[in-house]
């Protein structure tokens, strides 16, 4: 038999190589984080999906057309991976407080991973922005706490004068 090849169609497939120890969404939020997390992620069990848009890493985030280099993924220090566009959009909100959506640790790009390299600078800038907001928020809290303490002290002084019985009780407690 003689075969003549007239046409050849090349077909290829690709997928991101994700190191196996880089956990995916199975290791999501701890049980205590929100109480009940049934049904947090069951779909696409067999595939690695982005915990934010829930599309496979081998597809794109909702805003992109071309997978792969057009819509790369990044690997977190906490072992959670996302489309770079998804996690950047999240960290760009002040609600995020710079935290990983899955485990609520501060999100940082894993060091020494080449696919992260080109994003490190932008992510660092975002992290600084979030840190500043957090500092402002905490100093406001401190102010509030100082006011509350001042009020409490005033009330305490009032009570010292008025009600000696209570004071003795308090001292008892302190001794024990």
């Amino acid at each position: 038999m003689k075969v003549e090849v007239k046409k050849v169609h090349c077909v290829f497939s690709w997928s991101w190589h994700i190191p196996k120890n880089a956990g995916t969404i199975e290791s999501g939020l701890g049980e205590d984080a929100i109480g009940d997390i049934h049904g947090m992620v069951h779909e696409d069990d067999e595939e690695d999906v982005c915990g934010i848009c829930r599309a496979s890493f081998n597809r794109t985030c909702p805003n992109c057309k071309f997978p792969g280099d057009g819509c790369p993924l990044v690997i977190g220090e906490c072992q959670h991976n996302f489309h770079v566009h998804c996690i950047y959009e999240w960290l760009d909100t002040s609600t995020s407080r710079g935290l990983c959506p899955m485990c609520r640790q501060l999100f940082q790009l894993k060091k020494g991973v080449s696919i992260n390299d080109s994003h490190i600078e932008r992510f660092r800038e975002l992290a600084i922005k979030r840190q500043q907001e957090q500092n402002e928020f905490e100093s406001n809290l401190d102010d509030d706490a100082a006011i509350a303490r001042a009020i409490a002290e005033q009330e305490d002084t009032g009570r010292n004068v008025d009600n000696q019985g209570d004071i003795i009780m308090d001292q008892d407690l302190v001794v024990r």
């Binding site: 939020l29 929100i34 109480g35 009940d36 947090m40 848009c53 909100t93 609520r104």
Partner: protein, 152 residues
């Protein structure tokens, strides 16, 4: 209207195909970001045997922004105000895009099971709750009877 993100389509499909016990959520015909929700009052809570209507809306920025959820049925609860607004951390400061419509609704169901008067939204209710818990619970039961009866 811009097309619906795949994540929302998937979540909706699963809410219908694999519903959470005691919870229904159906998207509106003309607006697939708007859901009509019902939650059954948890057993052994003052809301037991009640069925509560809620509305849930997915803002354009969802899942970067939390869903907006509100009780439509009147309810006597220290963390739910007269307008049905809900004081729940995962709907505000503790939102995460890893959460979903179903996890949010489960958290609301859990809030019915354990009211928290120390983190109130409805201050008057919370005060009653702290002052006299058993009569507050009675009132919550009465309101459930009055306003949250399942529609035939």
């Amino acid at each position: 209207m811009s097309s619906l993100p795949k994540r929302i389509i998937k979540e909706t499909e699963r809410l219908v195909s694999d519903p959470v016990p005691g919870i229904t959520a159906e998207p509106h015909d003309d607006n697939l970001r708007y859901f009509e929700v019902t939650i059954e009052g948890p057993q052994q809570s003052p809301y037991e045997n009640g069925v509560f209507d809620l509305e849930l809306f997915l803002p354009d920025d969802y899942p970067m922004e939390a869903p907006k959820v509100r009780f439509l049925t009147k309810i006597y609860h220290p963390n739910i105000d007269r307008l049905g607004r809900i004081c729940l951390d995962v709907l505000k400061t503790n939102w995460s895009p890893a959460l979903q419509i179903r996890t949010v609704l489960l958290s609301i169901q859990a809030l019915l099971a354990s009211p928290n008067p120390n983190d109130p939204l409805a201050n008057d209710v919370a005060e009653d709750w702290i002052k006299d818990e058993s009569s507050a619970i009675d009132k919550a039961k009465q309101w459930t009877q009055l306003y949250a009866q399942p529609k035939k």
